[in-house]
């Protein structure tokens, strides 16, 4: 793998950049791998990466039906924070956030982690109490957050309207080291590093069946033929239900559309990420200058990556109320992704009823921020059979009633 640096770019410039090599190879599948990961989204790629990096398991294939990073990883609004309420969530999201801090250096690929700070606004008494609770919990979980008053909110977000007639801003929960990153770069950076370790990323290859013998997985059927493996990781977000069916089990998941939109680019006017859960909307400004906006999920289950316009309306209306100056900006593009939602809105990282087969899914509306931590824990689980990071997120919790409900702290969990 050629090292990336400003010097390398300068050197290549002299050759008109004709000397760059591929960021990742495009191999044909081998007959057999130690581990197959299905799904080259952020979570699948990160799992593969840490399998190689932390456990030396490098005979790995990541199989992707489309193009790597083309699922939700490439369509999300990239908010990164770890100010979750419940212990298991705070642990895995904070692990992820911590890994994000050094990820560019680790991968030698600039993923543009931008710890610009995240504010979650409190606009009702109820929210104040909720966020104060989160702040207390976070302090004990080792997550640095702070309850701030309205004046501080205004200082951090000059364009905010504190005293909207409907829901005045009463304060907020502030995580200074939360922020954003470049979503594509996260997928590309992991892919490049995996490929450099000798792993095969096989794109345009759909898994169509899971093969097993005596209750253990032995391989997969794909549109490029059958491939054997010892262990299998299913990391396919919205399509988890289908894959689980192939593997012979069912999942407590629903698939719904979640939408986002961007404005046309404008000069920097908002340095932090703001989430307003009472009115259902959140906004940040990308490094390109676009206001990146997201809101709630569609009310009905579906697989279209579109969603209904009513939700866009609700979200935009809420944000025009919160940031009146955006009224004369224009929406440039809207899109949707299929998110996989569990009953308790927390992910599943777990062994499955099929031996050797593991699943990582259920990240729903908020899994981008978790990618490095999830990959780290999942790799540990797949390599050693146990990970404190993933333990609470096992499938068993639905049988036992041991839910990890985050909706307590925030209606939407991006």
């Amino acid at each position: 793998m050629k090292h990336y640096s400003a010097f390398a770019v300068a050197r290549e410039a002299l050759r008109y950049h004709t000397g760059w090599e591929r960021a990742w190879r495009s191999p044909e599948p081998k007959k057999r791998y130690d581990v197959i990961i299905i799904g080259a989204g952020g979570h699948g790629l990160a799992t593969a990466y840490y399998l190689g990096k932390n456990y030396g398991i490098q005979n790995v294939a990541v199989i992707e039906k489309g193009w790597l990073g083309g699922g939700n990883t490439g369509r999300n609004t990239t908010i990164i924070r770890s100010n979750y309420l419940q212990d298991p969530s705070a642990a895995i999201y904070e692990k992820a956030r911590g890994l994000y801090e050094d990820l560019s250096q680790d991968l030698n690929y600039n993923i543009m982690f931008s710890p610009r700070g995240v504010i979650m606004l409190a606009q009702t008494q109820h929210e104040i109490r909720g966020y104060q609770r989160t702040a207390h919990a976070n302090a004990l979980q080792g997550v640095k957050t702070e309850w701030i008053g309205p004046e501080r909110v205004k200082e951090l977000v000059p364009i905010i309207n504190l005293d909207g007639p409907r829901y005045p801003v009463l304060g907020g929960l502030w995580q200074e080291r939360g922020g954003t990153a470049r979503h594509d770069a996260v997928a590309w950076g992991y892919a490049r590093a995996c490929s450099a370790m000798g792993m095969d990323i096989i794109q345009q290859c759909e898994v169509t069946g899971v093969r097993s013998q005596d209750g253990r997985v032995v391989g997969v059927d794909t549109t490029k033929g059958a491939i054997d493996c010892d262990k299998l990781g299913i990391v396919v977000a919205g399509h988890s239900g289908q894959l689980a069916e192939m593997a012979g089990f069912r999942l407590p998941l629903e698939a719904v559309a979640l939408q986002a939109l961007v404005s046309e680019p404008i000069k920097p006017c908002m340095d932090v990420v703001v989430m307003a859960n009472t009115v259902h909307g959140y906004m940040s400004q990308s490094d390109k200058g676009e206001m990146v906006i997201g809101g709630g999920t569609d009310g009905f289950n579906n697989f279209t990556q579109r969603g209904s316009f009513h939700h866009i309306e609700e979200t935009v209306r809420a944000l025009v109320e919160t940031f009146p100056m955006i009224s004369r900006l224009k929406m440039l593009r809207q899109w949707g992704g299929i998110v996989d939602m569990t009953g308790d809105r927390s992910p599943i990282l777990s062994k499955t009823p099929l031996g050797g087969c593991f699943i990582n899914c259920g990240w729903g509306t908020g899994g981008f921020k978790a990618i490095p931590g999830s990959g780290w824990g999942m790799a540990q689980l797949m390599a050693t059979g146990h990970s404190p990071l993933t333990e609470a997120f096992s499938l068993d919790r639905f049988k036992e009633g041991r839910f990890i409900d985050e909706s307590v702290a925030a209606g939407v969990a991006h």
Binding site: Y4, A13, T18, R25, S26, W67, G69, G70, D87, D102, Y109, M112, F113, S114, P115, T124, Q125, I128, Q132, R133, H136, A137, A139, L140, G142, W147, I159, P165, R166, R182, Q203, P265, K267, P268, C269, V279, S286, D287, K288, R306, F309, I312, E313, V316, L319, V320, M325, R328, K330, M331, L332, R333, Q334, W335, K399, E400, G401, F403, D405, V408
Partner: protein, 1009 residues
């Protein structure tokens, strides 16, 4: 130099001068001008700077596809960045500023990026800025961010001076696009009697045809358009909206229309934009086609323009974009531009045609004295801020042996691409047309409606028909087809006959010259705004970003404000070539709404400020407001947190209310509490499932406190249920829960027990409800009765605790519930909403002698906490089960089933380690912080401090003179008297004793009088 032609300009009125400013310089145009045409008429070739390299940018197109001519428009509360000059109608007093430069458009520091362009290829930022790490946060990112963005942000405190509105429309056939195809399709559809809505984004009907010329039924096409428009205008079943763009097509025939009402007349009364939410049975997209640029070095220099745009400027606005023009093309259509300009007196130096042979138009051009150079290409355009010279070479080859010609404008045409956006938004598929080198709608794979049939049809140029005759034939047929698909019988009216000029086939030319060397490719722009060049796409392919989505994201091709209207197909072709693949195999990126950007204001609509979300008001709302209410939003309601008297703090007010209600008499507006009527022969059975308690056995006239769990066993709501008659129950819910619980009941009724005979109605707003609370509660009510000379018997015997009665209280029709959420003697009295204020006034007046005071939600909370009553949302949070709260008694053991019963048998629910409800008292009487956690020894496997409980609600109790709290603590009820520690976020550690959660009147003597 670009100037105004002496004649021409079908859209401008030369008798009406219009004054405007650009970057502070005053300029003149005519009514009918666009900002772009007026700028060109004033020789303003350079109008902005590109995104990455800050290259000079000029107008390149004449419509919605324009990527370069973006300006900041207006001032103050009407300032709007990134407005396209080509679609901005000129008006007197318009002020525009150019974008993305510092200190000025002419002299821009950022333009040094051009010098470094070689070091800043596609995706360079992924490879750099990595070390040293702290530099990213402190140097690199701030730098990148500072250079980000195009237009200036509106002022931070600016408030849009304009208003917006939403309209709804239902139609049989919607035609998007008012060119000849749209007009004809509308007519053909409307002839069947179908209701037709026709929308056009510009201010004019007829689209390109009047510029391109030709005849229909042997008359000039503009005549035909005129007749057609007036014909449509007289038809009752046809509505027409100009300045109304089709913005997006969504599932089930839902379409967004974006009408710009006063953009061209700012300040005029009325909304600025109108968002149309249209439901159409069939949609016809007649959205035309967009010309493609050619990729040659220097194709981004101001003065290089689409050939069709140059023709538009001449014909529509009488503007001549240059004095010495070179036309570069791969098709016949650009010859029309050459001919038009020549006829207008412009010096057309030559036509550089990449093809070996051209059609009959070439002959016409030659006859006009224009030199035609077949097989030639532009090697490079020279010039910085405007075109100076053009180097011409052979199309085959790498670009050697150049001949340089002095020129000041270049018209380019790389062929046309149908506008397929609206077809594609909702899943319509495309097919590659090799002859014309474009994607067009594949009629066999349209977007599908709920019935599995297509609901979008494409017509005219947007369907791939480029010649006038074909356009009309196609549009006519499509209009009829749409009517038929919408359920109407199309009439056999005659299709108009358009002229069909013979044209030689175009030839796909994706690069000029065909094998251009790298130095030229690095200067051949694909995306003018985002500065993506041919070499960038080739680099992406080389580095393995092979999917078209990867290439787009890696290079930012097509991600600018024009969303690749000019660049996408050219970029695709370069990518396909680099991958040694074919264009249709590489495929397009996804077309997403909106077609062009639409204002956030329009999306938000009328719902701003006070009416952003409806504020629900109880009948007594205004009284509260007049009497010092400190408001608190609860759901869509506003409730009074406390009634603050002059000179009092909110905290003082709460304490006063708390004491007074216990000592004398308090009134609470409880109207917001949810009231659901559940009625029907199966209502009892149904409520037995909904509630954990038994409701079917409740005796008429009695009340029961009920709990509701989710199917996962978690407590979701509580409230008092009253049985009204044999088939009728009235269920109180929490204020925030009314709609949710109503929905919850409906969901179960509709999906699970749809055969049960039960109706649920939400009657929350039909009643005003007042809690009359305190030792004097009965006295005040009896006084009202005495004053009116009768009324219901409110004595302990006649109306015992947990019963209800209908009757008169004073003058009022009332339903009195003898229930208490405070532990005091208490009646909750419902009267018809219309009598609420009068009832409240009467109580208030009669209560004077008994020390009456209104109290708010905080007092309510404290009173209930003193009594250890739980509050949904405080003691519960979606993870708490009734057993945690010591509410086992409310879980019926007799019932076979209820929602949550099965869940309660899961192992974790019976886990003795679950945190349980207790009371908490700080050792020093202070108030525990809200949401604090109790800690145990050590840390868990993830290094987090072990927690053993938390505070669920905490208050200062004025009655007890100390802080009291409720909390959930591990083994709590077994640890009475023990001290636990709560670290606060303020750095202090709070010590609190575990106590019984009932702090006040443990035996409930006060309420049973």
């Amino acid at each position: 130099m670009s100037t105004r032609l002496a004649k021409q300009g079908r859209l401008i009125d030369r008798s009406k001068k219009v004054t405007f400013t650009f970057n502070g310089t005053s300029m003149q145009g005519y009514e009918g001008d666009t900002l772009a045409s007026a700028l060109l008429a004033n020789d303003q070739m350079m109008v902005g700077r590109s995104f990455k390299y800050h290259r000079p940018r000029g107008v390149v197109a004449s419509g919605a596809e324009e990527p370069n001519a973006l300006v900041g428009l207006g001032q103050g509360n009407r300032f709007e960045p990134n407005q396209r000059a080509t679609t901005t109608e000129l008006f007197n007093g318009l002020t525009a500023i150019s974008q993305n430069h510092w200190p000025s458009l002419e002299h821009d520091i950022g333009a040094v990026n051009t010098a470094f362009a070689r070091f800043l290829p596609a995706g360079f930022y992924y490879k750099t800025f990595i070390h040293p790490k702290p530099f990213w946060k402190h140097v690199y990112e701030p730098f990148i961010r500072q250079s980000a963005g195009l237009g200036k942000a509106p002022d931070k405190d600016s408030r849009d001076a304009d208003t917006y509105e939403h309209f709804y429309a239902f139609t049989d056939v919607l035609v998007i696009g008012g060119g000849v195809a749209g007009l004809q399709a509308a007519k053909a559809a409307a002839a069947s009697g179908a209701k037709v809505l026709l929308i056009e984004q510009s201010a004019y009907w007829g689209g390109r045809a009047p510029v391109d010329g030709g005849t229909v039924n042997d008359e000039p096409v503009d005549k035909f358009v005129e007749q057609l428009v007036s014909e449509l205008e007289t038809m009752d079943n046809v509505s027409m909206r100009s300045r109304c763009m089709g913005a997006g097509v969504y599932d089930h025939g839902y379409v967004l229309g974006y009408e710009r009402l006063t953009d061209h007349t700012p300040g005029v009364q009325g909304p600025r934009h109108r968002l149309w939410r249209i439901r159409a049975k069939q949609i016809v997209t007649a959205t035309g086609a967009i010309e493609r640029p050619l990729s040659f070095a220097g194709n981004d220099v101001p003065g290089v323009m689409l050939a069709s745009a140059m023709r538009d400027y001449a014909v529509n606005w009488g503007v001549n974009p240059g004095e010495r023009v070179i036309v570069a093309t791969n098709n016949d259509d650009a010859y029309r531009t050459a001919i038009t300009l020549k006829q207008a007196g412009v010096d057309v130096l030559r036509i550089v045609d990449a093809r070996a042979t051209a059609g009959p138009l070439a002959e016409e051009a030659r006859q006009l004295g224009i030199r035609v150079d077949p097989g030639k290409a532009i090697a490079k355009v020279k010039g910085g801020k405007r075109v100076k010279k053009v180097a011409i070479c052979n199309q085959e080859g790498v670009g050697g042996a150049r001949e340089e010609v002095e020129a000041d404008a270049v018209a380019m045409s790389g062929g046309w691409s149908p506008v397929v956006h609206m077809w594609s938004h909702c899943g319509g598929k495309l097919t590659w047309d090799d002859a014309n080198a474009f994607f067009r709608p594949d009629p066999s794979r349209p977007p599908l409606g709920a019935n599995g049939e297509g609901f979008v049809l494409a017509a005219g140029a947007s369907n791939g028909a480029l010649v006038l005759g074909d356009v009309l034939t196609d549009a006519h047929a499509v209009g009829k087809a749409a009517a038929k698909a919408a359920g109407f019988k199309p009439k056999n009216i005659k299709a108009p006959v358009g002229e069909t000029t013979a044209e030689a086939p175009m030839e796909a030319v994706w690069l000029m010259p065909a094998n251009a060397e790298i130095q030229l490719r690095m200067k051949s722009w694909l995306d003018f705004q985002n500065d993506v060049k041919v070499s960038d796409v080739q680099l992406a392919a080389r580095e393995g970003y092979e999917s078209v989505e990867h290439t787009k994201r890696y290079t930012t091709l097509g991600m600018a404000t024009d969303q690749g209207k000019l660049s996408n197909i050219n970029g695709l072709a370069i990518l396909a070539d680099a991958l040694e693949s074919e264009i249709p195999k590489v495929g397009t990126t996804t077309f997403r709404p909106p077609y062009t950007p639409i204002s956030m204001g329009a999306i938000g609509g009328e719902a701003r400020g006070e009416v952003f979300q409806p504020i629900r008001q109880t009948p007594m709302h205004n009284w509260h407001d007049r009497n010092g209410a400190d408001w608190e939003p609860v759901g869509h309601w506003r409730r009074t947190y406390a009634y603050v008297r002059p000179g009092e703090s909110v905290h003082d007010a709460v304490n006063r209310e708390v004491k007074n209600t216990r000592d004398n008499l308090g009134l609470l507006d409880a109207s917001t509490l949810g009231k659901l009527i559940v009625k029907g022969p199966d209502a009892g059975k149904f409520l037995d499932i909904m509630y954990t308690n038994m409701m079917s056995t409740l005796i008429v006239g009695k009340c029961r406190y009920g709990l509701m769990c989710s199917e996962n066993g978690f407590l979701i709501d509580d409230g008092v249920v009253a049985r009204i008659d044999k088939d009728t129950w009235l269920c109180h819910t929490t204020t925030g829960g009314a709609e949710r619980i109503h929905g919850h009941m409906e969901e179960w009724l509709q999906t699970e027990w749809w055969d049960w005979k039960v109706y649920v109605a939400n009657v929350t707003e039909q009643y005003a409800q007042v809690a009359v609370v305190g030792p004097n509660a009965r006295k005040v009510l009896e006084k009202l009765n005495a004053q009116a000379g009768g009324g219901m018997d409110l004595s302990k015997e006649a109306l015992p605790f947990m019963e209800w009665r209908d009757g008169k209280i004073g003058e009022f029709d009332a339903r009195a519930y003898r229930i208490s959420f405070s532990g005091e003697l208490s009646y909750e009295i419902a009267v018809p909403a219309s009598q609420g204020q009068a009832f409240w006034d009467a109580l208030f007046e009669a209560g004077q002698e008994f020390g009456v005071m209104p109290y708010g939600t905080e007092c309510l909370h404290i009173l209930r906490a003193e009594k250890g009553f739980i509050m949904i949302g405080d003691e519960t949070d979606g993870t708490v089960i009734p057993q945690d709260l010591g509410l086992h008694w409310a879980l019926s053991k007799k019932k076979e089933d209820y929602l949550g019963k099965r869940a309660h048998s899961r192992s974790h629910m019976a886990d003795p380690e679950r945190w349980k409800l207790v009371g908490l008292e700080t050792v020093d009487g202070s108030v525990l912080p809200d949401g604090a956690y109790a800690v145990g020894e050590g840390v868990n496997a993830n290094g987090q401090r072990n927690m053993i409980g938390r505070v669920t609600s905490t208050y200062f109790s004025a009655n007890l003179g100390k802080g009291i709290a409720m909390g959930l603590i591990k083994h709590g009820p077994d640890r009475m008297g023990e001290i636990v520690e709560f670290p606060g976020t303020d750095g202090k550690t709070y010590k609190a004793k575990i106590v019984d959660p009932i702090f006040f009147d443990k035996d409930g003597e006060k309420q049973n009088v």
